[in-house]
Amino acid sequence: MQPILKIDLTRGETAEISAPPEWERHYLGGASLAARLLYPELVPDLVPLSEAAPLMILTGPLTGTAGPTVGRFVVCGRSPATGLWAESNCGGFWGPELRFCGYDGLWLTGRADRPVYLWLADGRLEVRQAQAVWGQDTYAAQETIRTEIGVPNARVLTIGPAGENGVLFAGLFCDHGRTAGRTGLGAVMGAKNLKAIAVKGTGKIPLASPEAFASLRGTANRMLKADNIAQVTHALGTAGVADYADYLGSMPKKYYHQATMDGVDKISGATMTETILKGFSTCHGCVIACGRVVDLGDGIRRKGPEYETAVGFGPNLLNDDLAEIVRLNEICDRYGMDTISASNTIGLAYHLYEKGLLSEAEVGFPLAWGDTQAAGRLLDLIARREAIGAFMADGARRFGAHFGAEQEAVQVNGLEVAYHDPRGVSGMALVYATSPRGACHNRSDYFFVDWGQAETSLGLEFLDRLGGAEKAANVARHQDWRTVCDSLVLCLFGNLPVEMVVDLVNAACGFGLSVTGLLQSGERAWNLKRAINNRLGLTQVNDRLPKTLLEPYADGPAAGYVPPLEAMLAAYYEARGWDRRTGRPGREKLQALGLADVAGDLWESG
């Protein structure tokens, strides 16, 4: 692999770091390699928004090739929202461009003494003053920096005002509205006085067997073009699944308190395609092009919402106006905030207001379900940390706690739950409860498996979507697979057989891995991230769901069902080889995965 460029923003020093060759094979890259590299630094007294906190941006071994869905990179560190392991990946073209510069990653440490941005052109790094761009929104900042450096096709990864102001769900944005949104790493970047990183490279991506890779990626791209999921995602966007999610009862409404809603079909990807869609946007080398370009009638081309945003600012707030969802999405993008956490926290505000736990005097204006103007005002306040927004900017858990209602917040370990309800797809109960970064829907998008995407080549069975403990091993297996995807930083919508992925990895890296070996690398990294979190204070008590998700819906397709979480967790611990008493991976499990040093740290420290 190419080196990682380590940049100390305090001292203005740089160094090239190379991972040990065995780590390349065992962790592949991306989030898994980042976890291994950052393991020594992620200790309990590390303050996420401090000068000492690391921020690592890594690509994967396929990133920037002509392979399928390989435009992504991942940002890692310690989350200021959860206090746990943080990772958030992002599409677009920035990751490939970094690799064209000759680096597979950036390792940022320290804090600049004033706002700066980085400009990396091939191997040449400049630290530039950013006072002029500090305070600009993410769309404007990208344009300003491109103009300032005089390279119109440079790729700019930036934070917005939310990241500058320490909003705990601030993200990093590039290529207009591509987002590393979750876990608040935009605030970590802002705490370093780092506004943006511009990159432009002219190099080539190293491949072990270029001819074999070219043949495989051609086949893979043709398979993707013919794939049903890819075709739906292209034609309708990721919100194309909204109708089916609603039909199965896995799309929450009214802050997870309502199973059905009149007019819910008005926010679906199908409706978007039939009404406001004007074009598509894509990431590097992707044949799917899930990104939406929409026009609300004013002639301005805007980003159309993906599924999570459509539901978060739609049915979650009892809103069925797609144009308003587009508007709220753009506000979040410009401020540089994650739409899942933002819409979840706003949903909590509406919920508390309805319950009388939050007053009009405390908010400053009334909150009514379906009122998107109020939601927009809240977004403004959150990004500026003003009035009620100062509390909401800390995320749902702390916002709820401030008003004596932490138990009402639909979050796990400080990360707000995404919009796949475990009362409609029960595998998500385990996914949310055990994800290394809180209630994440992507460390395993098991809702797809509960809908039917049960790949036999991964050893997955198709089990009842309202089942229980019998799917624990299935979930663990799928988490391992998605951890592989996160190490390669592959898009989860690239629905390719695992055999094809392992062939692509071997052709790119010259490894000779088997499917079993590939999945074991996922299991290794999953356990490593768990161990990091254990060392940061996570125990079995943290493997939980918010009370709302354990209360059955009275009506709708999943009426009366709640996932049997305790039984599922017991089976999951068994499948994982984890200690039920402490919540830690067992010593033997860690040793078997080649993590003897981690086993020593975890079990010999008591």
């Binding site: 013919a226 049903n228 739906v232 309708l236 194309g240 079909d265 990807g269 199908a270 049960a454």
Partner: protein, 135 residues
């Protein structure tokens, strides 16, 4: 009544089943569009079979065996190898799993399809219940 698959008798029997099945009729009440099922050779099947269904508002108005898959002009086309289709009809392969794991290909207006997945699933249920002996 379960009928031997494949064959014209199976096709005609399925038309009767669809028109008699109350749940299908209700679920598919808004469905507009004909559908072709292209059964590709595998296992004992040596030549492609194309079964055509004219589906309209919960009714199956007509069925036909088409001669040539290349001339299919239906609004929706479901395409699968014979072996996979047989597994679906036997209940050994879930139709959604088939669609999501590259075993059954769907062509047509995907917006309409995603809004009407329940209709497709009811259609498959009727086909399963209509199937007796298999080639």
């Amino acid at each position: 009544m379960a009928v031997r698959f494949p064959g014209p008798a199976w096709l005609e029997s399925l038309q009767e089943k669809l028109n008699a099945d109350e749940k299908y009729s209700q679920t598919a009440r808004n469905w507009e569009g004909d559908m072709a099922v292209v059964i590709e050779p595998s296992g004992p099947l040596v030549e492609t079979l194309v079964y055509y269904f004219d589906l309209w508002h919960g009714r199956c108005r007509s069925v036909a065996v088409l001669d040539d898959s290349s001339t299919v002009k239906a609004a929706f086309v479901l395409k699968a190898p014979y072996d996979h289709l047989v597994k679906i009809l036997k209940g050994e392969l879930d139709p959604m799993t088939a669609m999501m794991t590259r075993k059954l290909q769907v062509q047509g207006n995907l917006g309409v399809m995603m809004r009407n997945v329940p209709t497709v699933l009811e259609f498959v249920r009727c086909a399963k219940e209509n199937t007796g002996e298999i080639l």
